[in-house]
């Protein structure tokens, strides 16, 4: 599958899973709201232009917002993590030339620890900004900080499961024929 088709499919799937599975399941506790849709942003190719990433992140958030009728609530955190993503990748990508040999961030291309640091930081940033925006509208800042922590933990667990269940096999690309 070409990168474009793959990402279009992912975009739709992540939004639908978030809306019709994760928002629909009875909450474990009112402190826990799991999120997984932003994994789309984390999985975008290395080579993609930064402005395209930002725009895609905005569209992703906006698509989700159209379902939940909270325009802007999910797009703001998405744009934020899409902006932070390249910096974080630069910091964490220790293997020389990984971004040339592999398509997108994964355990395979980045190594286990850097990849999970990358996912953890961006998940945390996403959740804190999302719940902070909710807290601005509703009040109860401490409640939302605790909620962000618990939700991050559960979301990370879900992301781990996703990684294990849907292993993304990537070809090692090289210019040596």
């Amino acid at each position: 599958m070409s990168t474009l088709v793959k990402n279009i499919v992912r975009f739709c799937l992540f939004v639908l899973v978030q809306v019709f599975v994760l928002y629909q399941i009875p909450p474990l506790h009112h402190l826990v709201t799991p999120y997984i849709y932003f994994l789309f942003i984390l999985w975008l190719p290395y080579k993609m232009g930064r402005r395209t990433q930002l725009l895609l992140a905005f569209l992703l958030g906006f698509a989700l917002d159209s379902f939940t009728k909270t325009y802007g609530l999910h797009s703001a955190p998405c744009v934020l993590i899409a902006y932070l993503r390249p910096y974080l990748i630069n910091l964490l990508l220790t293997r020389e030339g990984s971004d040339f040999n592999y398509n997108e961030p994964s355990v395979q291309s980045m190594g286990l620890t850097p990849y999970f640091t990358y996912v953890t930081i961006l998940t945390f940033v996403h959740h804190v900004s999302l719940f902070f925006l909710q807290a601005l509208q509703t009040g109860g800042l401490v409640y939302f900080i605790i909620k962000a922590l618990f939700s991050t933990a559960v979301s990370l667990l879900l992301i781990l499961l996703t990684e294990l269940l849907f292993s993304r096999k990537q070809r090692f690309r090289t210019n040596i024929v």
Binding site: L16, F20, Y23, Q24, P26, P27, H30, T33, R50, R51, L54, L55, A57, F58, G61, D65, S66, F67, T68, K69, T70, Y71, G72, L73, S75, A76, V79, L80, Y83, L133, Q134, Q137, T138, G140, Y143
Partner: protein, 283 residues
């Protein structure tokens, strides 16, 4: 000037980021205005039809509860039939009204219309319900919505051709007038965004005698709901020493999670009242 242009070019990505972030925040904090925008109506149709497909499947899992609630609602209505009452006094004879039945519509104040719930959420701080009935079937903004058991669900805030969006009671900005059935003290029903089963009734005077289990009903002061619809049952009282009023915690009367059908209430005399109010204000 040249330097300024270079500066913008170098940091263009950053400005693009700021632009998108600003746009998101603008949409977020001015969403009431945005709700009336054209996009919102189109999006409503699209997300509504996707939700409708999804609901066709998920509805089967709630058939039993839905059936039970409808049977209960029917039982309640059967018990209100005139045939159930044996009026002992022969003076109270029932006369058939000689007015034609259509003209009764002049006296009708509230009209109920059924609607299927196609999407529902309870986990967010701002929950919306989407109903499969829109402006083509006479739904307009600001109509009240109730559940089959007679409990208040919310208010219609956005309508497209075939779907309407309801602001649930489980919404931070939801604001309904409620009254204690026993004592008659009125307060404002709000939600704090924490527990989906707990609603808050604010501004109850401290002279009110409240005990756990008391019923709270709509006051009938708003145009949306007739008087006496269920809101919830008193759970406990938060006694804030610094304030002169009680805040009462309620168990909500409606189970928002399993909601599959709703009734939309139209106030046929609402326009008249609004026009009257407008006239008073313009004076």
């Amino acid at each position: 000037m040249r330097n300024v242009i270079i500066f913008f070019r170098v940091y263009f990505t950053f400005f693009f980021f700021l632009f998108l972030l600003g746009l998101s925040l603008y949409l977020l904090f001015s969403y009431n205005k945005f709700h009336n925008a054209l996009y919102s109506e189109v999006a409503n149709e699209v997300t509504g039809s996707i939700s409708n497909q999804y609901n066709k499947v998920s509805y089967y899992f709630y058939l039993k509860q839905t059936n039970d609630s409808l049977v209960k609602a029917n039982e309640k209505l059967y018990n209100q039939l005139r045939e159930d009452y044996n009026i002992p006094d022969t003076v109270n004879r029932i006369f058939i009204d000689t007015l034609s039945t259509d003209s009764l519509q002049r006296f009708r104040r509230f009209l109920y219309r059924e609607a299927k719930v196609v999407r529902n959420s309870v986990n967010q701080p701002n929950n919306y319900i989407i109903l499969h009935r829109g402006s083509e079937l006479d739904i307009r903004n600001d109509m009240g919505v109730i559940a089959p058991n007679g409990g208040v669900v919310g208010t219609v805030i956005e309508v497209s051709d075939n779907f309407s969006v309801v602001m649930s009671l489980l919404h931070i900005q939801s604001n309904t007038s409620g009254r204690l059935k026993k004592g008659g003290e009125t307060g404002t029903l709000v939600w704090d965004g924490v527990d989906k089963n707990i609603l808050l009734l604010k501004d109850i005077t401290k002279s009110a005698k409240i005990s756990a289990g008391d019923t709270v009903i709509t006051s009938g002061f708003s145009e949306k709901f007739p008087e006496g619809l269920l809101l919830g049952y008193v759970k406990d009282i938060i006694n804030d020493k610094s304030s002169s009023t009680y805040t009462v915690r309620l168990r909500s009367a409606v189970n928002f999670e399993t909601l599959q059908f709703a009734y939309i209430i139209e106030n046929l005399q609402g326009n008249e009242v609004n026009q009257l109010l407008k006239k008073v204000k313009s004076k």
